[in-house]
């Protein structure tokens, strides 16, 4: 029973590329794919060097992987695909994560926009953008966010995964529940998976409830609700972590969880269905995070981020069981 994943190894780490641009110094976070005839375009988020206060911004980029050999990187974007927002904008300090989907000849993207705050480090809302050149560049839909904070989702609306089934758009995402303080006084965010629906991809109706129960208690943080449809059922692979001490302590860092649903709205969590865990050593020895699952030429793959939530890049696994 369950999904058996065979790890195939690291696919992309920008630090392995000497001539990479200044805005792509390191990190390859939160991969999502668009499949083309000859290649798989993997969108991810990366960082330039930190500023004088050791703070980062985050840009969206892509790499193209040879469809016949997903370990062969045949192209790297030369510019960020999305610009950062202007002064005071919700996305002034980062565009992370990004989720992409085809919409006719366009590619539609929903992304987390980062603003910097005083009492907490940041706040996040979701913006929307559209590309007419296969994802090389995206134009934003307005200056502000399309999905933001509301009475029961007071802050940190992020980690979008956009899907369309029949004529309805589904957006699975995570919403902040509370900020908690670590021993060092640093506020850390607890967020839970949520879902919204839309008929146009612009105006969203939130369900306003948690969709996956917490396994680690109320301070479990959940992100990256990646939905994959197969065998008459919706499957969600996501990641979860402890509320505090999750950066340095590998036992409290992100792991991949699983839930299934027949209607996209009510989900049953069963992490025993997913066997992918940290490796003994190497790039994913401390965490496995931000999964995305896709089918290519009859094989189901998962891309996921490793240590440091993508600081060491993203890698690939292949489904062996059929998940039935």
């Amino acid at each position: 029973m369950g999904f058996k994943w065979q790890k195939l190894g690291l696919v992309f780490d920008p630090t392995h590329y000497e001539n990479r641009p200044e805005w792509m110094v390191n990190f390859a976070q939160a991969p999502n794919v668009i499949i083309f005839d000859d290649y798989v375009r993997v969108f991810f988020c990366c960082r330039p060097a930190p500023d004088e206060n050791k703070e980062f911004v985050s840009y969206c980029a892509f790499v193209d992987l040879d469809r016949k050999n997903l370990f062969s990187v045949i192209n790297i974007s030369t510019q960020p695909v999305l610009s950062l927002g202007g002064l005071g904008s919700f996305d002034e300090f980062g565009t992370y994560p990004v989720s992409v989907i085809r919409d006719g000849a366009d590619i539609f993207a929903i992304y987390g926009g980062w603003a910097r705050c005083e009492s907490v480090p940041f706040n996040i809302s979701l913006g929307l953008a559209r590309s007419k050149d296969d994802g090389v560049s995206f134009q934003k839909y307005g200056v502000g966010p399309v999905l933001s904070h509301s009475p029961d989702e007071p802050f940190i609306v992020t980690s979008p995964k956009i899907r369309r089934y029949d004529a309805t758009w589904y957006l699975a995402y995570t919403a902040g529940r509370r900020w908690i303080l670590g021993d060092d006084g640093r506020p850390e965010i607890i967020y839970k998976l949520r879902i919204a629906t839309s008929t146009d991809g612009i105006n969203w109706s939130k369900r306003n409830k948690d969709i996956v129960e917490s396994k680690l208690g109320e301070d479990e943080a959940q992100a990256c609700p990646d939905i994959f449809y197969t065998n008459g059922k919706y499957h969600m692979f996501f990641c979860y972590r402890h509320g505090l001490d999750f950066r340095e302590n590998k036992n409290r860092s992100y792991r991949i969880g699983y839930a299934s649903s027949s209607d996209l709205l009510s989900w049953q969590r069963d992490d025993s269905m997913v066997d992918i865990d940290v490796s003994e050593d190497g790039w994913d020895s401390e965490m496995v995070a931000y999964p995305t699952v896709f089918e290519l030429d009859g094989i189901v793959y998962m891309l996921y981020a490793g240590n440091g939530n993508g600081r060491t890049g993203f890698g690939l696994a292949k489904l062996e069981g059929d998940g039935k």
């Binding site: 202007g86 002064l87 005071g88 904008s89 919700f90 002034e92 300090f93 603003a115 910097r116 705050c117 005083e118 009492s119 907490v120 706040n123 809302s125 913006g127 929307l128 839909y141 307005g142 200056v143 502000g144 966010p145 399309v146 933001s148 904070h149 509301s150 009475p151 029961d152 989702e153 007071p154 802050f155 940190i156 902040g176 509370r178 900020w179 506020p187 965010i189 612009i202």
Partner: protein, 318 residues
């Protein structure tokens, strides 16, 4: 319009306000009872880091406005917890009685780093005639920035008219600096939203009041019906150098409408302006109009954004 100024009626420095506030009584807004008026306002308290938090309070007046009956004790609505939209202050607070409850529409302030603040609109509900309010939801706003209202959603003024809730409010259009190394200043304009329940609002990203100044900010709309027309007062100022330069400071603007949709601005008809040598000589801002026993009144702040209180005017001829 012709207004008779009745003078300043409340000076916070003459009272022991709750929460240790000593200065500012900004954005007075009235709730009319049978035998008295409850006027909400926002005062400020200084915090450990030297910054200020706006805290809503109220003062009850008799109906001739010459006697204070009561001052609020303790917070009437709690500021937000860490990371919430109203963690760093609530200003202003607009009250509306509806079906036995009192709705408070709040502008919540949250501090940012590249710019000074963000604002969103919250809702709190009172079941004790406005003495205390409980927030709707789990700490979030009912209206925040959207793709076409990208910043600073605040200054709500809500009326229930003909079976529909109407809100006039402001949203930020942009942030800009007066010079390369100048401080970022906000630009905002007046807009309109509608709702069936007072909680879920439909809005369209359109501004409704024409600009008069090149770098104009518009704030705190207030609307009343008289003489077969809707009348709106609001305040406006230059986006830059408005704190100490009286030429750029807040003044009251005026617009009228037959249908609540299209508004004709004509400040020359406002019938009220600054008074030389008086408490409102350099600035007039944060208007609130209300009806009481057949008369229309206007509450507003004068110099220094209401640091030393608020005053009242009464409508004479239309």
């Amino acid at each position: 319009m012709q207004w008779e100024k009745l003078g300043k009626i409340f000076d916070p420095s003459e009272h022991n306000l709750s929460e240790g506030c000593t200065l500012f009584a900004k954005s007075p807004q009235a709730l009319v009872f049978d035998n008295f008026l409850r006027i909400y306002f926002c005062s400020q308290k200084k915090t450990n880091n030297g910054k200020y938090l706006s805290c809503p309070q109220f003062v009850d007046f008799n109906k001739s406005f010459d006697k204070i009956l009561r001052l609020s004790q303790g917070p009437i609505v709690e500021l937000g917890k860490i990371g919430e939209f109203d963690e760093h202050g609530i200003f202003p607070l607009n009250v509306l009685e509806h079906e036995g409850k009192t709705f408070a529409y709040t502008s919540g302030w949250s501090r940012r780093r590249s710019v000074s603040i963000d604002m969103s609109i919250g809702l709190a509900i009172s079941e004790d005639t406005g003495l205390s309010f409980k927030k709707y939801g789990s700490g979030g706003p009912i209206m925040a920035a959207t793709h076409n209202e990208p910043f600073l959603v605040g200054d709500p003024f809500v009326k229930y008219l003909n079976g529909l809730f109407h809100m006039w409010y402001i949203f930020g259009t942009n942030w800009n600096r007066p010079s390369v190394d100048g401080e970022a200043e906000r630009f905002y304009k007046i807009a309109h939203a509608e709702s069936n329940d007072g909680i879920n609002w439909i809005r369209n990203g359109k501004t409704i009041i024409e600009d008069k100044l090149l770098n104009e900010c518009q704030a705190l709309p207030t609307v009343f019906y008289a003489g077969g027309q809707y009348h709106m007062y609001f305040c406006y100022r230059n986006a830059f150098n408005f704190r100490n330069n009286r030429v750029n400071a807040y003044r009251l603007g005026y617009a009228c409408s037959d249908d609540l949709i299209s508004w004709n601005r004509d400040d020359t008809k406002s019938g009220i302006d600054v008074t030389e040598g008086a408490w409102d000589s350099d600035m007039m801002c944060y208007p609130n109009t209300f009806e009481c026993d057949g008369e229309i009144y206007l509450l507003y702040n004068g110099n220094e954004f209401g640091k030393y209180g608020f005053g009242l005017a009464k409508l004479g001829a239309l």
